[in-house]
Symmetry: C2
Subunit: 173 residues, 2 copies
């Protein structure tokens, strides 16, 4: 399964794409960021973000989309911009018929580092190791996006295993 | 100038369209809501919202778009959904090349009622009077959307008058 992880934002929207299946280590496909010009107003930046995301979706054809869930505990203005960016990411994915999941920052940190309160450096370090990269992905938003995609592969395969067990049990009745 | 006011939301996204020019009372063009099914996940609801909005834009061809700015002081989950809906509204507008403005709830209340802390009933009452309607627009989200559009006409014409005065003063030098 090819998963695109998205760390939403207007200044830098992190993109991390991995291939992953149950019982195999996830593999890096691509990583980067979509930037939108700060000189534009928010609405135009959302259009630029959409165009950037469509480019990534077209090129890499992900089968599932995982977006970091935005919380309101930080700077209020930037959180609203980030939530709007997350909305555009979800829209872009759902319009293509792709399944969209949201994972919280603490779910992502816990999945890749074992601790829901890990810092950015620890997340980057663990992503680098998990994907067997020779150097850390830059910038941090790109590493976060990879962590989101890895989390989704791991959580998704858990769900699939459960669904498979349920289906198997039903088949036996 | 034809303005579409949008009160963003997933359950009910208020839509209010008015025609307004400097020195004339604004006139109601259309009012309603876009609803998206609660049974769908957020990403699919955003797609349904986009489709609904495109329908309103296509039918009424607004020249300017005014969206209520979302604040994070209320229920955090619903605020994030609302911010994502606002992002999709801004995207839909900007993709058509339309100017997009955000007005805060208190700016809207102050513009139509004279008080930034007016309640929903007062906003609805004043919108009904300003637009000379025979009955109050329903539901409240639709009345709010009209209030946003009226606010934009009034603020917009204020800006235009100022810009015109500056231009005239420059012309005299």
């Amino acid at each position: 399964m090819r998963v695109i992880g998205i760390d939403p934002g207007l200044t830098r929207c992190g993109i991390g794409i991995v291939d992953g299946t149950v019982g195999k280590p996830p593999r890096l496909v691509a990583v980067g960021v979509v930037r939108t010009p700060a000189a534009l107003d928010v609405a135009r930046r959302l259009v630029a973000l959409e165009e950037g995301l469509v480019g990534w979706f077209d090129e890499y054809q992900p089968e599932a989309v995982a977006i970091e869930r935005v919380f309101a505990q930080h700077n209020l203005n930037s959180v609203m911009d980030t939530a709007q960016a997350a909305g555009v990411a979800a829209l872009t994915a759902a319009r293509r018929g792709l399944p969209v999941a949201f994972h919280t920052p603490s779910e992502v940190k816990a999945a890749v580092t074992g601790s829901g309160s890990a810092d950015k450096a620890q997340v980057t370090l663990m992503v680098t190791r998990i994907l067997k990269l020779t150097e850390a992905p830059r910038p941090a938003d790109a590493a976060d996006a990879l962590a989101i995609a890895v989390t989704h592969v791991w959580r998704g395969s858990g769900t699939n295993r459960y669904a498979a067990a349920v289906a198997a049990a039903k088949g036996k009745r």
